[in-house]
Amino acid sequence: MGIFFSFSMIIALVVIAFAGVQLANMQFIFGVVIPYAAIATFLIGVGFRVYKWGRSPVPFRIPTTCGQQKSLPWIKHSRFENPDSTFDVVVRMALEVFLFRTLFRNLKAETREGRVAYGSDKWLWLAGLALHVTFFVVLLRHLRFFMEPVPFFVNLTDSLDGFMQVGTPHLLITGVVLLLAAVYLFFRRISIPQVRYISLPADYFPLFLIMSIAISGILMRYFTKVDLVRIKALTMGLVTIGPVETDGIGAIFFVHIFLISILLAYFPFSKLMHMGGVFLSPTRNMANNSRIKRHINPWNYPVKVHTYEEYEEEFRDKMKSVGLPLEKE
């Protein structure tokens, strides 16, 4: 059911933007008001979520490790699987953030001839990495609408991305790969029964949202083209917080920017917060050094203790009179 709910939500959003622009002429709402509101929601929301996480105490060292802990000098220490210093943690974290190392360990479990067999499965890792990297490149490329003059690294990204020189305007590989990766992740979700069983609307919605953003962008670039000069004037108006003109821009642009606004506004409330969460995961960002350093729980209260010596002192006479053995006579 999650699929149909998420899918109809996306269709509804597209229809709202399309009808709002075509029938109600609300270009200003969809092109200016909603994007500003979405950016504000994104920034405040992300800041607040991270602040809330930062306030949670993490008294125990709970890194998930999968290698030999630092031990005696002749036992080989697995530094990045079981880090014991900040530097090793940073390297481990960088491998996780840039290369998705935990996904690389993804295994496929299946029963073969009545026995459970595990095999390597790298497709999730590949598609996940492809989705994130291409999304980043697409975002970087979009800086051309928000900078005047366009910085050299944006132009460089564009020419590298379109180096195959297919068609006019030239085909940008990352846009296509982004869409394909999102489609693969969706089909993976519905084709593996166990994954499908645990999938919720909150899993399908971001995937459909990313797909719809990619599709509207691809449509706008190659098929139902829009007036780029007017769009650049609008986007520059947005970032300079100046007057914005919305005349003469096709409805598909407003659909595109509305879907992106939804993504931004939805971000802090959803699983997409894994962007900040990966850095704040205690199982990832802690060094496994509890045998080297003593970590004291910050909310420990002083515990009243009554040692055996004190006990013996208190009851010495009584114990002696009934003939109990005493440590000190």
């Binding site: 994104f42 920034l43 992300v46 800041g47 991270v50 602040y51 996480w53 930062g54 306030r55 949670s56 105490p57 993490v58 800086l143 051309r144 609408f145 928000f146 900078m147 005047e148 003059p149 366009v150 944006v154 132009n155 564009d158 020419s159 020189q165 068609g167 006019t168 305007p169 030239h170 083209k225 829009v226 007036d227 780029l228 000069v229 007017r230 650049k232 004037a233 520059m236 108006g237 970032v239 300079t240 917080i241 100046g242 007057p243 914005v244 003109e245 900040g276 850095f279 704040l280 910050p298």
Partner: protein, 132 residues
């Protein structure tokens, strides 16, 4: 906050990256670039028109060039057109640029401003404009 220094530093870096377009454009005003139509040939045209309507050409000119390329190079259809009273070839240099002889103030103003680098000029070379 626990580890507050690191977390706040991370947040500041993130906000710095996200809001980069806002503060790097601070104090600037957005200007819409307009390609110039003021060339000797255009000024002498009987009727100010292009091969297709203006609105269509704004968004689809690259597609027109692509179609012309296929028709001329692959299918040998080199029929000439009459536009605004003068004869036009299906060609970039002998067609489009016959009227729009001002590449720098016509093509390039929009292309540069929107970060578009068409690969027309990989092959087409205009001596007067010094374009490569």
């Amino acid at each position: 906050m626990y580890n507050g220094g690191k977390i706040i530093a991370g947040l500041i870096i993130f906000f710095g990256l996200v809001t980069f377009p806002f503060y790097s454009n601070f104090g600037k005003t957005a200007n819409k670039v307009t390609p110039k139509l003021d060339t000797p040939v255009i000024n002498q045209l009987e009727k100010k028109e292009c091969v297709k309507p203006k609105e269509y050409m704004r968004t689809e000119h690259m597609k027109v060039l692509d179609e012309w390329r296929d028709e001329v190079v692959r299918e040998g259809k080199r029929d000439k057109m009459i536009v605004g009273g003068i004869e036009i070839e299906k060609s970039l240099q002998n067609g489009c640029l016959k009227c729009h002889s001002n590449v720098k103030t016509f093509c390039d103003v929009c292309h540069t401003s929107s970060g578009v680098k068409p690969y027309c000029w990989d092959c087409h070379f205009i001596k007067e404009e010094g374009l490569l």
